[in-house]
């Protein structure tokens, strides 16, 4: 086994070569079904206000504030260590707004570490690939790949707000546990929709049936993982909805190319979302100072099935009345405007950006003030599909969310290795 030996990497080319050697050896282990070392994983992170003016030194400060120590290898490339000095991976600034952390640390401790430094940071967020975004990426992958190749899709929907009767906090907490006990006699029966389906099949087979599956059972809209088959051999690259990408191919070079492909789309999606949604008063070009118009477009999310009043109530209280908020990471003091209608003039409590929302049993409207990161919108869409309505549809202004994603993907070069 060739270790990547992170501490001795001296440049991008060297990094790719070392990780390539590591994953090549690992394929042999996978063939023998004796995986001895963890897979290579990439965590994609969004750098808030990550314009070109954010220098490497500024980036180091951002990470240092979250107790991630980084030492620069070359421009836009760093060795990252945790608070105790343990090497955790290589951070590459892939695009002005997107960082990639490549690591061979085991998944569970790595995710814990990443979550611990991203969660409290208003400057960093995960890359959020909603089910709707995955729907478009699936279409792109289908066109790019040979139809007999195997792919893997995971659909995840947990109706955590849909609970009969009064629910103690512990139950929701229980659902948070990574691996619930398989056979626990004490475990209460909780009746609510909880879907996690993994589908592994040839692209042509899935393509043939996915639309029907979605029409029959809406959780099939909530794609939470998608594998891009590797064109250089077996396996592929598993993209997760929170920006993790696991390499299951024999080429790190190919892995990085796929990551870069999706990142380019995502960055354009962020820009497009912000350009369209940001509300502000803008002065007229022809008569500066005289005319001010409101520009922007609402984000509209509509549910396939209206929420029951008790589900709506639980969602609102769980989201806005907890000490640290809930899954949606929103803050605000709701104004009740009816049995199933509230207005919230609040903020995204992760990135601490203002956000104005109308929630109802039939959907949600978001007004995004100028400067609020587009990631807030994509996290909201991802969470609504995952926890409320997998078949929900989103519109940015008068365009479908999918149309915005598709436009963001137009012309993005796909340059796999091989």
């Amino acid at each position: 086994m060739v270790e990547p030996a992170l501490g001795t990497i001296h440049g991008r080319h060297d990094m790719v070569r070392r990780f390539d050697g590591y994953v090549s050896d690992q394929m042999e282990e996978l063939d023998e079904r004796k995986l001895k070392r963890p897979l290579v994983k990439t965590f994609l992170l969004e750098l808030l206000n990550g314009v070109r003016s954010c220098t490497d030194a500024a980036l180091k400060d951002i990470l240092a504030r979250r107790h991630v120590s980084v030492s620069q290898i070359e421009e836009g490339l760093f060795l990252a260590a945790d608070g105790s000095g343990q090497e955790m991976g290589i951070v590459e600034r892939l695009r002005p707004r997107i960082l990639a952390l490549y690591s061979t640390v085991k998944s569970a401790p790595l995710r814990t570490w990443v979550t611990q430094f991203v969660r409290p940071s208003p400057e960093l967020d995960h890359v959020w690939l909603s089910g709707l975004t995955f729907g478009v990426l699936w279409g792109i992958m289908r066109r790019l790949s040979r139809q007999h190749r195997f792919t893997r899709l995971v659909f995840t929907h947990e109706s955590i707000f849909d609970i009969e009767g009064q629910v103690p906090e512990e139950q929701e907490e229980e659902e948070e546990a990574p691996t619930p006990p398989a056979d626990d006699d004490e475990r209460e029966i909780v009746e609510r929709r909880d879907t996690r389906v993994t589908l592994v099949d040839r692209i042509s087979e899935i393509d043939h049936r996915l639309r029907n599956l979605q029409e029959l059972y809406s959780p099939f809209y909530a794609i939470s993982q998608l594998r891009f088959p590797s064109p250089v051999g077996r396996g592929g690259h598993d993209f997760f909805d929170d920006g993790q990408v696991t390499n299951r191919s024999e080429s790190f070079r190919d892995h990085r190319s796929h990551v870069l492909f999706v990142v380019r789309i995502y960055e354009r999606l962020l820009k497009s979302t912000e350009e369209q949604t940001w509300y502000s008063i803008r002065e007229s070009v022809s008569a500066p100072g005289a005319f001010r118009r409101i520009v922007g477009a609402p984000v509209v999310i509509r549910f396939r099935e209206p929420l029951r009043p008790e589900v709506f109530d639980y969602w609102v209280s769980a989201t806005f009345e907890r000490k640290r908020g809930s899954k949606f990471r929103l803050w605000g003091q709701p104004i009740r405007l009816g049995p199933t209608k509230v207005h919230v003039y609040g903020a995204d409590r992760h990135l601490w950006q203002p956000l104005f929302l109308e929630f109802s049993a039939k959907g949600c409207i978001a007004i995004v003030p100028n400067g609020t990161c587009g990631n807030t919108v994509h996290r909201l869409v991802t969470n609504i599909q995952r926890y409320l309505d997998p078949g929900a549809r989103t519109f940015i202004g008068d365009r479908t969310y999918e149309a915005v994603v598709e436009q963001s993907a137009e012309g993005v070069p796909y340059e796999p290795e091989g």
């Binding site: 504030r65 998944s107 569970a108 990443v114 979550t115 611990q116 969660r119 409290p120 208003p122 906090e169 512990e170 907490e173 948070e176 546990a177 990574p178 691996t179 502000s280 008063i281 007229s284 008569a287 005319f291 001010r292 118009r293 409101i294 477009a297 609402p298 509209v300 509509r302 549910f303 396939r304 009345e321 907890r322 000490k323 640290r324 899954k327 605000g332 003091q333 405007l337 009816g338 209608k341 207005h343 003039y345 609040g346 903020a347 409590r349 990135l351 601490w352 203002p354 109308e358 109802s360 959907g363 409207i365 007004i367 003030p369 078949g391 549809r393 519109f395 008068d398 365009r399 479908t400």
Partner: protein, 371 residues
């Protein structure tokens, strides 16, 4: 009849916000049906006709020679007027000037009539000069409860007739009525406005009403000290304004990196809360009213936070309210105190119990299955 909706169609701030929603880029209802999801309920008629918001409350000055002519004719006219909203359509340079009113007014001498004369000039043959840009067609429309439209139109017609008789270049007139029923609030378009927009005259759904729900959409413009709304509506709008100021303060503190300090002064916070409209307020009394609201709000926040964290917020004359954040623990404590402050009651809310859920939420990520 939805009593709340019946009351709201008379409220100028609801009227302005309704107008802004009518011009928002939103999907047509049939799109929601195609996707099999619940329709939004808001029908953006003006956007569908490709009208967009051109200006909010712009000052439109009456040309000097027209003012002189009016003076010579003994017709009182304002020097300039601010319609609540101006919409325009780029493809044919049509401008729609909308003034919101709770009710109609008579043709006798009044400020409203003087304002109407100035607005009629702005929408008349001299519109390009008034707007300092090319205007191919303009129309003045009064937005008010549907039941008041006929009376309003009678007044406007008489005022316009008098102006025409004296050679003053007044433009065409119309009304945009708001009508409520049990199931919707609709806009009633008269024949003049219908021809201008390219639709049939009549009623068009603006917003569908769910049983028991308040019809108010999210407010773009949350507060207008000049608006003469009901006491309840004024209180509601103040609550929205306070929440938006609260969000502005909480977000700024949330993004801060200790050790640091943040200064909150009225201009920045009010502009943040009003999409930048505060900076353009010409009416000094209104601007002062807004500053007083800001002061009331910040004083309450200061008292609330300082009751738990002594000296965390201090007022500095000439600068504003300073929030000092010493370290990460202090940062977290200030965020906690700020987010528990109620913009409704202007007091602190009790701390919720620490929940196991919260701790896990922040510390234990979900682990997908990969090594």
């Amino acid at each position: 009849m939805n009593p709340k909706a019946e009351e709201l169609v008379r409220d100028p701030l609801f009227q302005v916000n309704a107008l802004l929603w009518l011009a928002q880029p939103l999907p047509d209802e049939k799109v929601f049906r195609e996707f099999g999801v619940s329709p939004l309920g808001i029908h953006p008629l003006l956007h569908m006709r490709r009208f967009a918001v051109h200006a909010i409350a712009p000052m439109l000055l009456v040309p000097l020679d027209v003012r002189l002519a009016a003076q010579n004719a003994g017709i009182p006219i304002q020097e300039g007027a601010r319609p609540d909203v101006v919409l325009s359509r780029e493809r044919d340079l049509k401008f729609l000037l909308v003034e919101c009113k709770a009710s109609s007014f008579g043709p006798g001498p009044s400020k409203s009539v003087e304002q109407a004369r100035a607005l009629m000039i702005a929408a008349g043959p001299r519109a390009s000069e008034v707007f300092a840009e090319q205007v191919k067609a303009a129309l003045l429309s009064y937005e008010l409860p549907d039941s008041a439209c006929a009376g309003m139109m009678g007044t406007l017609a008489r005022v316009a007739e008098e102006m025409h008789a004296r050679g003053l270049p007044a433009g065409p007139l119309s009304t945009l009525g708001l009508r409520s029923s049990e199931t919707e609030v609709s806009v009633v378009i008269d024949s003049e406005l219908a021809a201008f927009l390219g639709v049939q005259p009549g009623a068009f759904k603006f917003i569908a009403l769910e049983p028991g729900d308040d019809p108010r959409p999210l407010y773009f413009i949350p507060y207008d000290p000049d608006a003469q709304g009901s006491a309840e509506e004024t209180a509601f709008c103040r609550a929205v304004l306070f929440r938006r100021m609260h969000a502005s303060v909480v977000a700024a503190i949330g993004r801060a990196f200790p050790p640091t300090e943040r200064i909150f002064e009225h201009g920045a916070v009010l502009n943040d809360a009003m999409f930048g409209m505060y900076g353009h307020w010409d009416n000094k009394a209104s601007a002062k009213h807004m500053r007083d609201l800001f002061k009331q709000f910040m004083t309450a926040i200061q008292q609330s936070v300082n009751s738990e964290l002594t000296g965390a917020i201090a007022f500095e004359p000439g600068r504003g309210w300073k929030v000092k954040i010493g370290d990460e623990d202090a940062h977290e404590a200030i965020i906690d105190a700020l987010t528990r402050f109620s913009a409704e009651t202007l007091t602190a809310q009790p701390k919720p119990p620490i929940e196991l859920f919260d701790v896990l939420e922040d510390d234990e990520p979900q682990a997908p299955s990969s090594n």
